[in-house]
Amino acid sequence: MRSFAISEVAIDPARLRQALHLPQCGALVCFEGWVRDNHMGKAVQALDYQAYRELALSEGERIMREAGERFEIVGAMAVHRVGALALGDLAVWIGVSAGHRDAAFSACRWVIDEIKARVPIWKREHYSDGISEWLHP
C-alpha cells in the first residue's frame, strides 16, 4: 500500500497507523511534523500551508512509489495538511511499515526529506510581531 494525501482537516494518526498494521511487518516508523512555537528565533503564532493540489498529489504519489522501489518496505502513507494551522497542530504525518526496522527508518526519513524538497506546498508563518511571510527557502 502506497498513498499520499492532502487534508483540509485535522490528521488522525491513530487511524492512519492502523492501516499500516500488516502481519508480515515487524516495524513501523512514524514521523509527525508539528507547528512549533518558534522559527529561527522568531516566535510563531500560527501558519498557513498552500498547495498546488494536482501537482502536489502526483508528485507525492511519485515519492511514495519511489520509496517502495528504494527500500524493502511493505506499507507507506503520507498526509500533508493545508489551510490555517495553530501551534501544536499536526502538519504532516508519515508512516512506513516493513519487515525490519532498518528499512522502515530509512524510508520514513527519505520520504519526509523528499516531500520537503519536491512537493509544491508552501508555508506562511505568522509571527507574534504581526508580520507574516511565505517561506521560500
Binding site: L55, S58, V92, K116, W134, H136
Partner: protein, 80 residues
C-alpha cells in the same frame, strides 16, 4: 494563443490573484511569459530559483507552450 497562469505563495501575493488568462503571440516561450508576468506585477523573483509546471506536470523552461496551456511558476517549496 490563450494560456492560464497560476500563482502560489509569495508570487500569488505579488500578482494579487490566484490565476489569470493571458493572450500570447504564437511561439512565446515560458521564459518570455515569465518576463511578461514579472513586468505586469512587479515580480522580481529570479527565474533561476523557480520551477515551472505545464498542465499539472513539471517541465523544463525550454518546453513549448500551446493554446489552452495551464502554466504555474513555482517558488522554492516549504512544506513539511
Amino acid at each position: 494563443m490563450k494560456v492560464s497562469v497560476h500563482y502560489f505563495a509569495g508570487l500569488r501575493d505579488r500578482a494579487g490573484c490566484n490565476s489569470e488568462e493571458m493572450d500570447l503571440a504564437e511561439g512565446t516561450s515560458l521564459t518570455a511569459l515569465y518576463a511578461q508576468c514579472c513586468a505586469r506585477h512587479g515580480i522580481d523573483f529570479p527565474r533561476e530559483r523557480l520551477r515551472v509546471a505545464l498542465d499539472d506536470a513539471f517541465v523544463s523552461w525550454d518546453h513549448g507552450l500551446h493554446d489552452g496551456a495551464q502554466v504555474a511558476f513555482l517558488p522554492p517549496v516549504s512544506g513539511g
